[in-house]
């Protein structure tokens, strides 16, 4: 009996040993996992700025304000690789959201969309035409990445982008600047909102004109407060923290209110109005504190 008992346990032990020797295949990354997404500084600090977490869009802007006589420009919408680089160029697939896009056919053309060989970032190259209507119109095109055999689509929250262009001051795309805009322009949004839903180029133009803000990318003028390349070197608004920390946003809103009041008084037939966003057609008002 004792021998049987011992043999039983020996057999059990051998079975365990034999089973435990089974080899599992090591998982390898496959090229088929490679994907693309739009940049998001919330994921990687060094990526191009523009991701807006409230809208889930990568916001890109282009303006002909600094080159009014150019007939067109090529804008490269950045795209980031998730996965390994390849030794050949790969095509990025996308679709235009026709429902949201207001740019008419012929006002732009997508030249190519490529993830170059040996690169972790690619681009969707778009030719934008400088047309007369851009003086008072902002065109927008919405794009969403799609998957192909070569490149899958990345996380859905980083797969859409909106490119807008006009002849006006470029729209702020960084949350730091959007918040500054909302601190100064009256709307139903919180004064610290980072939403662009009420943004209008005319209101930004009023801010820039009233406050003389067109050099926030200049370190010699603004010292440590300047907008570095890491923030997109945006010229027209300071990061919100600089006007929040000393409560000067209240003073700037007051200065803006003075400007709007004076402008409207001298232009009674054409007062300053929002030309885009949820407040389109309404009078531009500065916040009051």
């Amino acid at each position: 009996m004792k021998r049987i008992f011992i043999n039983f346990w020996i057999i059990i032990g051998l079975l365990i040993v034999v089973n435990s020797c089974e080899t599992d295949d090591i998982g390898f990354y496959k090229e088929g996992y490679d994907a693309v997404r739009f940049p998001a500084t919330s994921l990687e600090f060094t990526e191009p700025v523009g991701y807006n977490s409230e809208s889930g869009l990568f916001l890109a802007v282009c303006s002909f304000i600094d080159s009014p006589f150019a007939t067109d420009t090529i804008y490269e919408l950045p795209v980031m690789l998730i996965g390994h680089t390849s030794n050949v160029d790969r095509t990025i697939s996308y679709r235009i959201d026709e429902e949201k896009t207001n740019a008419p056919a012929g006002s732009y053309e997508i030249v190519d969309a490529v993830l170059p060989a040996d690169s972790t970032s690619g681009f969707i190259r778009i030719q934008l035409l400088n047309r007369e209507e851009l003086n008072d119109t902002t065109y927008q095109v919405y794009l969403t990445l799609e998957g192909t055999n070569e490149l899958s689509r990345g996380p859905v929250e980083y797969s859409s982008a909106m490119l807008s262009w006009n002849n006006a001051i470029p729209m702020p795309t960084n949350a730091n600047f959007i918040r500054t805009y909302n601190m100064l322009i009256k709307s139903s949004l919180s004064f610290v909102s980072t939403s662009t839903s009420n943004y209008s180029p005319n209101a930004l133009k009023a801010i820039v004109t009233a406050l003389g803000w067109n050099d926030w990318d200049d370190i010699n003028v603004h010292g440590s407060k300047y907008n570095s390349p890491a923030t997109g070197s945006y010229k027209y608004l300071p990061r919100y923290v600089w006007i929040y920390i000393d409560t000067s946003y209240k003073s700037y809103a007051l200065k803006l209110a003075d400007y709007i009041s004076a402008y409207n008084a001298s232009h009674p037939d054409a007062p300053l109005k929002h030309d885009a966003g949820n407040l389109k057609g309404q009078l531009i008002e500065a916040r009051s504190y």
């Binding site: 006007i243 920390i245 000393d246 409560t247 000067s248 946003y249 209240k250 003073s251 700037y252 007051l254 200065k255 504190y289």
Partner: protein, 545 residues
């Protein structure tokens, strides 16, 4: 048997090893060649050397070998290094026995290391080392800053460095005159009538931040200087000092209070937390509607006094009020409870003349003049204290009143400056011809000393007088009163007075007179400092570094 042999072998091997090692030749038992030791005597040379940028640094230690100077066999090397993560190399700056070199290293709050290496070439290049910490500073350190005008329309600054007025200063006195004209080719084109030192940054971190002087001009504008080179780094003409300036806006006074820098203006109070902000971005909403009578305000600069740090008699409300907290992180304005002595909320017949406050903010003191009778009295107010384990909370309330007798009234009516001592119960009164002391603190009446503590001579008249407090004390007195203090308190801090006198319209003189008996306000002019050569003196203040 084999084991036994093995053990024997081990024992024999150990013994042999011990035997061999014991044969080591111990040379210490042989005759020794004594060499004359090189002695570097640094007596009287401070371990911490403070030098102005591009100033001459001289260090002359006594170096001897035995009874000689060893000149023929010694080599000297002075080298300097700034130790940081990326740099720790010594750079040779002199090979002379006596160091006398102009130091052109960048200004730094951290010290450079200065090394003297003396090499004895007669003894196998035996080396002897001495080390010092060298602080390279701006040439403009802390000291006395004077604004004066030579023509009645423009003004300039003069800085005095003296070991009584400048922290860690053991060199010859230096007086930098007409700083702005020498830097810019012309003095400032307005009259700078009120100077206030302020440090932009955390006062409790020594060597950090920017030392600044704010100047209010006779027309109510304001400008700001970086004291490192006295360059203008802000004016009220743009947004560098105030973001929005209402029409007719003028600055009246500037002062430090708790962790704020405060401006009293024609549009009310503005304030900001000067640890991180350098601009008046918006008015101080907590103070809206309050007007300090005659602009008289008692404020402690201590960054650790949260409650009742700023006190005033309100011109509109006829009552005492105090400010707690800060506009940025929650502010409140409160009143004082009355007691049997007086009602702080029924002061409509009083007008404020002077005010003072203890360093810890515990007692605010006001000299008030009764409008109807013209009589003077000193009122003290106790501040709110939070409950502690051994004591309940104490409300802000009235404390004492000391009536000033008629002889004091005559002095006060003729006064050009009136100020309280911060630590003692002494009120100083400066008339055109002398300084007087009024003592208070016991009984119901103040005691007036009609014998001047100081009298002018030679036709001079006093135009301004104030208590001497070193710059850092005025910016944040927690830096000079801590245990241990962050900034070395100067011997004269709170123990001297500053006096500006004029002989003619443009013949001014500044005196700093030590107080020899602080409790009764006795002055010691014989040990004071006197600086002449000024035009019309507009203001005198102290700055920190």
């Amino acid at each position: 048997m084999k084991i036994k042999i093995f053990i024997y072998s081990i024992v024999i091997t150990c013994c042999a090893s011990l035997f061999l090692s014991s044969c080591y030749d111990d040379k210490s038992t042989l005759a020794t060649n004594f060499i004359d030791e090189v002695l570097i005597d640094t007596t009287g040379i401070r371990q911490e050397q403070f030098i102005g940028y591009q100033e001459l640094l001289t260090i002359d230690p006594a170096i001897t070998v035995g009874s000689t100077d060893g000149e023929s066999r010694l080599e000297y090397e002075w080298s300097m290094a700034y130790f940081s993560k990326s740099n720790s190399e010594f750079e040779v700056i002199s090979t002379d026995k006596r160091l006398s070199e102009v130091i052109s290293r960048p200004i730094s709050s951290a010290p450079y290391t200065l090394k003297l290496t003396v090499t004895d070439t007669a003894n196998d290049n035996l080396q002897y080392l001495c080390l010092w910490n060298v602080y390279v500073q701006s040439s403009f350190l802390d000291g006395l800053l004077i604004s004066d005008t030579k023509d009645g329309t423009s003004s300039d600054l003069t800085l005095v460095l003296n070991n009584q007025l400048t922290v860690n200063y053991d060199k010859e006195e230096k007086v930098y005159r007409q700083i702005l004209e020498k830097a810019n080719g012309a003095p400032y084109n307005k009259l700078m009538t009120a100077l206030t030192y302020e440090k932009f940054g955390n006062a409790m971190i020594a060597g950090s931040g920017d030392n600044q002087v704010w100047a209010i001009t006779s027309d109510g504008d304001c400008l700001r200087f970086d004291t490192e080179d006295f360059s203008i780094n802000g004016t009220s003409d743009d947004e560098s000092i105030i973001t929005y300036k209402p029409a007719g806006f003028q600055f009246k006074s500037l002062f430090r209070s708790y962790q704020m820098f405060v401006a009293h203006t024609t549009a009310g109070f503005y304030s900001f937390m000067n640890v991180s902000v350098n601009t008046f971005g918006w008015y101080d909403a907590a103070m809206t509607g309050y007007i300090p009578d005659n602009g008289v305000i008692a404020a402690t600069s201590s960054s650790s006094v949260y409650y009742n740090h700023t006190v005033w008699l309100d011109q509109v409300k006829g009552a005492f009020y105090s400010y707690s907290g800060s506009a940025s992180f929650g502010a409140s304005v409160g009143h004082y409870q009355s007691n049997m002595v007086f009602d702080p909320n029924a002061m409509a017949d009083q007008t404020a003349v002077a005010a003072g406050i203890k360093e810890d903010g515990s007692i605010a003191t006001f000299l008030l003049k009764e409008k109807s009778s013209g009589s003077y009295a000193i009122y003290t107010l106790g501040q709110y204290r939070e409950a502690e384990e051994t004591a309940p909370a104490t409300p802000a309330s009235a404390r004492n009143k000391y009536v000033i007798p008629n002889e004091g009234r005559a002095l006060l009516d003729d006064a050009v400056s009136i100020f309280f001592a911060q630590r003692e119960n002494v009120l100083y009164v400066a008339t055109e011809n002398g300084i007087y002391a009024i003592l208070y603190g016991s009984g119901d009446n103040a005691v007036v000393s009609t014998t001047p503590k100081y009298s002018t001579t030679g036709g001079e008249t006093i135009v301004k007088a104030k208590l001497y407090q070193q710059g850092h004390h005025t910016n944040d007195n927690a830096t000079t009163t801590g245990t241990p203090p962050l900034i070395t308190p100067l011997a004269w801090n709170n123990k001297a007075i500053i006096l500006a006198t004029q002989k003619g319209d443009f013949e001014g003189k500044v005196n700093v007179i030590p107080i020899s008996q602080a409790g009764i306000g006795t002055l010691d002019p014989s040990n004071g400092l006197v600086y002449d050569g000024f035009g019309k003196i507009l203001d005198v203040t102290t700055i920190g570094y």
